[in-house]
């Protein structure tokens, strides 16, 4: 799609021929200066990149001396190294194109062949698929036994919880195409439900329940909360819906923080952990992360199983229809509001389960666990992985939660989110469909690129023209 570039070059070459008198003003406007040529622009961009990278990897600044970092970064040797790398990369790209592209093509050819064969086998034989899935599941269940306890904790406290959240959000945004910036609010509602029904809040429940019994209640509560939020707001579209959901989150968060008498406010809540007592069998979840992990894996597998059924059913198709073209969907008889509410409620209840699980694992939480930033992060996980695709969402959440933990070893922990941000930008430019996109989604994007359709229902509100 490099129409602009090629057009600019084209105009440069064609101008002598087509420079008729009435066009000359326009031709003058289109004249390309040397620094506007792609080659030099690329160099300029690379140099800018080098400076940015120098700043990223350079001196740590302090408030004591505001200019310290800038001074060090721009006077040290580091800058020159970066600039040299930039120029070298540029030179290779500009003057050794043939050699490099041949090398790149060679690797592509090598990698394409076997990949295709794998794909063929995969789609042809059901037994292979089942076998691989079983192996993956076994790995997921037993693999973590072999890692350090620290990573086990990461796996439970963060990865598994966020995977569950991402699966829920995927229903809302990936399938129904509703931009929800306040998803963590339902997570909070789930956690506080757990606290309330186990008797951990200042306000006492009618009966104190076991954490497992709270699960269905939390699901219901979140369902209702989802409908309450959704019903009046779903006629809003796109960005309006986004800001209202964000507002909803902020209200829930501030309630949790400020209503001391009900929620303990910023002090946080101490919740009992999971336990089962059936008379003949009793078990208590304690500090070891693995039992929680297996419990969460059960929740996740269950959610995936149920949601996959939805995706390939009437409901999933209706969501896709709404996402692609709400007007046409309604004209086809799809009750759009009902389906959107359904997506909201289903997503919310998943989040509720995550909330209960989280509260019952950590044993303590406070409102800061439900900060607005998390809502935004979960959204990023879903889209990074490939919204609408369960494997994508699983990967996106797991990878992006794992990455900052891993980066700790490599970069200053304070800078981790800087790298994460850069990664998000680069990924989205490279692979806007996400790492493992769903087939439907990939097609939508391809069509959007070709100029048909908007690829999501978050487009500007209908009826913006009078």
């Amino acid at each position: 799609m490099s129409i602009k570039t090629s057009a600019a070059q084209g105009a440069g070459q064609d101008s002598p021929k087509s420079a008729t008198a009435p066009l000359s003003a326009a031709a003058r406007l289109r004249k390309v200066h040397w620094y506007q040529e792609p080659r030099w622009r690329r160099l300029g961009a690379l140099l800018a990149l080098a400076v940015t990278l120098r700043l990223m990897t350079g001196e740590e600044g302090t408030t004591q001396d505001l200019f310290l970092a800038l001074r060090e970064d721009f006077t040290g040797v580091g800058l020159w190294i970066w600039l040299a790398i930039a120029v070298a990369v540029w030179a290779v790209r500009e003057f050794l194109t043939d050699q490099t592209s041949r090398a790149v093509e060679g690797t592509k050819k090598v990698s394409a062949g076997p990949l295709d064969r794998v794909r063929q086998v995969w789609s042809a034989d059901k037994r292979v698929r089942m076998g691989v899935l079983t192996a993956v599941l076994a790995l997921v269940v037993f693999g973590p036994l072999g890692v350090e306890r620290y990573w086990q904790q990461v796996l439970v406290d963060q990865i598994a919880i966020f995977v569950l959240l991402a699966i829920g959000l995927n229903v809302v945004i990936g399938w129904a195409g509703l931009l929800d910036l306040g998803f963590i609010a339902f997570f909070a509602i789930g956690a506080y439900s757990a606290a309330y029904w186990t008797g951990a809040l200042p306000v006492q429940p009618p009966v104190a329940l076991n954490n497992f019994l709270v699960l269905p209640i939390a699901v219901l509560t979140c369902l209702v909360a989802g409908v309450i939020l959704g019903a009046p707001t779903l006629r809003l579209r796109g960005d309006y819906l986004a800001i209202v959901t964000l507002g909803f989150h902020e209200i829930v968060y501030l309630m949790a923080k400020n209503a001391d008498g009900v929620t303990e406010g910023a002090r946080g809540v101490k919740v009992e952990r999971f336990s089962v007592d059936l008379g003949f069998f009793s078990y208590e979840w304690k500090l070891d992360p693995m039992p929680y992990y297996w419990l969460l894996v059960v929740f996740i597998v269950l959610a995936i199983f149920l949601f996959l059924r939805l995706e390939h059913s009437k409901v999933g198709r209706a969501w896709t229809a709404i996402r692609e073209d709400e007007v046409a969907a309604a004209a086809t008889g799809v009750p759009t509001v009902r389906y959107k509410l359904m997506a909201f409620a289903i997503g919310a209840s998943t989040s509720g389960v995550a909330g209960v699980a989280y509260a019952s694992k950590a044993g303590y939480f406070n409102p800061e666990n439900f900060a607005i930033l998390l809502s935004i992060l979960v959204l990023a996980y879903v889209i990074f992985g490939g919204m609408g695709s369960i494997p994508g969402v699983l990967f996106g959440a797991a990878f992006l939660v794992w990455l900052p933990e891993y980066l700790r070893e490599w970069v200053d922990p304070k800078d981790r989110y800087m790298y994460l941000g850069a990664l998000l930008v680069i990924m989205m430019i490279y692979r806007p469909q996400g790492v493992l996109p769903s087939r439907r989604r990939k097609r939508e994007l391809r069509m959007a690129e070709a100029g048909v359709g908007g690829a999501d229902a978050t487009g500007p509100a209908e009826g913006r023209q009078p």
Partner: protein, 386 residues
């Protein structure tokens, strides 16, 4: 398309970046080495507090190693909980998993302490917090949790006592910043003031409020004799400015979170006259403290901040106990817990010792006042307030 190409080109550079930054660190030295971990907010919203503490600890470790008479090497391990309870369990596990870690300073915040202390307890690893001040942490039976700082009760009570007895305030506005620390402190102050028969108006102004002028108006409209702000200097700075603009002329008081030179820098002359309490003895006068401040500034190019000196003390105390155990044969996690429980140590900021619940025994609160460019020591509250 142009940009996509550039991104493509950027990949080798990014790889280079990782290579350059990743080449730091590396193993050093041989012989006996013990690791001291610090659990606190090393990234995220409260990173500056974490950095203050981390720097204090690093300085202590570097100095101890440089002395050369330890007979072993002390290493520093950072574990980051971002100040969030949900990240605290993971962070704690990281410290526990490293078998060379014999002691943890932290968790820095009360919320994370509440989730992590149990895990530390089960691993028999001491968690000595120099900043988690929520009173109930020591009442929950966490086996290895020690608090090297007076809890909020002592400081809040001290504030209330001073305002009631010395200032003879009749109406006090108590403002918290919606953090664990601020709420804990404000709660105690409010309770004690009321018990002393003082009228109290309680308000909350969350950290990082974009505009403190409305909050200042809220204070002045109650026409109080005095104000207690329970929060950190980052917010006390602009708040003090706006209070002055709003015409507040009563006694303004804040706690150790504000007792920092940067408060004066942020608030300018609006900070003049503010009373600051602290469980720490005069931090600016004694030679040792001055040397600490100088060393710190030399090393980290910034002035010590809130909890820097406290963390330095905690690290020094731990190193001293490690040294004793080391001389007696070896350092075990559980042995160190017991040793620290019984330890008595005189640090820069105060004298450390613990009761059987791990609570800090020395509950004396001192009073300071901002005068001009500096914070001046006034004396112990008990003496001042009679």
């Amino acid at each position: 398309m142009l940009n996509k190409t550039i991104v493509k080109l950027a990949i080798p550079m990014a790889v280079g970046a990782l290579a350059l930054t990743g080449c730091g660190g590396g193993d050093s030295g041989s012989g006996d080495a013990y690791k001291i971990a610090f659990q606190g907010p090393l990234s995220g919203d409260n990173v500056q507090l974490g950095q203050n503490m981390e720097n204090g600890i690093k300085l202590a470790i570097d100095q101890a190693n440089a002395e050369g008479d330890l007979g072993f090497e002390v290493e520093y391990v950072p574990v980051d909980d971002q100040g969030l309870p949900d990240k605290a369990t993971t962070a704690a596990q990281k410290a526990i998993d490293d078998e060379d870690v014999v002691a943890v300073i932290g968790p820095a915040f009360s919320g994370p302490a509440d989730t992590a202390a149990e895990i530390y307890g089960s691993a028999g690893l001491v968690a000595l917090s120099s900043s988690a001040t929520r009173p109930d942490l020591t009442t929950k039976g966490y086996e290895t949790f020690l608090r090297a700082v007076p809890n909020d009760s002592a400081q809040g009570a001290g504030m209330a006592k001073y305002l009631a007895n010395k200032t003879k305030a009749e109406k006090v506005v108590v403002v918290d910043d919606k953090t664990d620390y601020g709420i804990g402190l404000a709660d105690v102050a409010e309770k004690d003031l009321k018990a002393a028969g003082v009228e109290v108006v309680r308000q909350s102004v969350p950290q990082k409020t974009p505009d403190y002028s409305a909050a200042a108006k809220n204070v002045t409209k109650n026409k109080p004799d005095a104000l207690i702000y329970a929060g950190y200097y980052q917010d006390a700075g602009p708040f003090a400015k706006k209070l002055k603009e709003a015409g507040f002329d009563g006694v303004a008081m804040s706690g150790d979170g504000t007792n920092d030179a940067q408060f004066i820098q942020l608030a300018g002359d609006a900070s003049d006259g503010w009373l600051l309490t602290c469980p720490c003895t005069d931090a600016t006068k004694e030679d040792a403290t001055k040397k600490f401040a100088a060393d710190y500034e030399k090393e980290f190019k910034q002035a010590p901040g809130t909890y820097s000196a406290e963390s330095y003390d905690a690290a020094m105390m731990i190193i001293e106990e490690i040294k004793k155990l080391h001389e007696d044969g070896g350092v075990e996690r559980q042995a160190l817990v017991d040793a620290l429980r019984a330890a008595k140590y005189k640090g820069l900021t105060k004298e450390f010792s613990f009761d059987d619940k791990g609570e800090f025994t020395n509950q004396t609160i001192y009073l300071y006042q901002v005068k001009g460019e500096g914070i001046e020591y006034q004396g112990s509250i008990d003496e001042l307030a009679g």
